[in-house]
C-alpha cells in the first residue's frame, strides 16, 4: 500500500459531503442551518483550491488537472475498457473535481445573492439557486458512478482509500 491522500484532502472531502447533505435536507425547512452549512461548504471549497496550489503530491491541481483532449482520450479509453489505473486522480476524476468545486462555489454564491436587499424574495433568484443546486446533485451522482466504475475496473475500494488515504502500490502500467 502507498499513502496517496493526505489528511487535509480526506477531511475536506468528507466534511464537504456532510455539508452538502445538510444543505440538501435543510433547504426550505431550516433556513438558518441551510445558509450556515452552505457558507461552510463554500469555505471548504476555497480552502481546497488553496491546498491545490500549495499542498503536496497528489493534492496538487498540477498533478491531476489535465487538458480537455487528455480527458476526452481517457473517457474514450474507459469506453473501450482499456483505461490505465491512476494512483492519483485520473483525468476524468480530475475534471470532475474541478467541475464540483466550481459548481459548489456557484451554488453558494447564488445562495448568498438571495440574502442581498436586491434579490431577497426574488422568485427568479430562488429558482436559479435551486437549478444550480440540482445541477450539483446531478454532478454528485455522476461522481458516485465514476468512483464505482473505477473501483470495479481496477479492483480497489476508492471510498476506503479516501477515508484511510492508502491505495494498492502501483503495478506496471499504472500511472503515478
Amino acid at each position: 500500500m502507498i499513502r496517496v491522500w493526505d489528511p487535509l484532502v480526506r477531511a475536506f472531502h468528507w466534511t464537504l459531503v456532510a455539508s452538502f447533505v445538510v444543505c440538501w435536507l435543510s433547504a426550505q425547512v431550516w433556513e438558518d442551518l441551510h445558509a450556515w452549512a452552505g457558507y461552510f461548504a463554500g469555505a471548504l471549497a476555497l480552502a481546497r483550491v488553496v491546498w491545490g496550489f500549495i499542498g503536496g503530491g497528489y493534492a496538487r491541481f498540477a498533478q491531476f488537472v489535465r487538458a480537455p483532449r487528455v480527458i476526452l482520450a481517457y473517457l474514450g479509453a474507459i469506453a473501450r475498457s482499456s483505461e490505465a489505473r491512476f494512483i492519483g486522480h485520473n483525468p476524468a476524476g480530475g475534471a470532475m473535481i474541478v467541475a464540483l468545486l466550481i459548481v459548489v462555489v456557484a451554488t453558494v454564491a447564488s445562495g448568498y445573492a438571495l440574502t442581498t436587499d436586491a434579490l431577497w424574495g426574488s422568485s427568479g433568484a430562488q429558482r436559479l439557486h435551486s437549478w444550480i443546486a440540482h445541477g450539483l446533485a446531478l454532478l454528485v451522482l455522476v461522481h458516485l458512478a465514476g468512483v464505482a466504475l473505477a473501483s470495479l475496473r481496477h479492483r480497489e475500494n476508492l471510498v476506503r482509500a479516501m477515508i484511510f488515504g492508502d491505495k494498492r502500490a502501483p503495478a506496471p502500467g499504472d500511472v503515478q
Binding site: 426550505q28 425547512v29 431550516w30 433556513e31 431577497w120 424574495g121 426574488s122 422568485s123
Partner: protein
Amino acid sequence: MKTMFALVALAAAAVAVGPAYAAGKCAAGPKSEWQPKSALESQLQTEGFTVKQIKTESGCYEVYATDKGGKRVNMAYNAQTLEKLDNAEAGEN
C-alpha cells in the same frame, strides 16, 4: 407494568399537547377552495407590508415581504383561510 403505564401516559400526553405547539396548519383541501393570492396581497398591504413575493406551497402561501420599518419578514398563511401560521417554513416546497 408501572413503567409501561408511565411510558404510555407520557406518549399520550406528547401526542395530545403536540399540535398545540404548531399553531396553524396549511390548507388540506383542493386548490379550488383556496382564496386567491391577490386577496392575501391586499390584506398584507393594508397591514403596511411591502410584498416582494407570494409563493404557492402545499396548502400554504409563503410570503416574502418587508414591514413598515423596512425589515424583512418571511410568513406562511393557510391558503384557504388566510390564517397566519406560526411556522413560516410550514408549507415545505
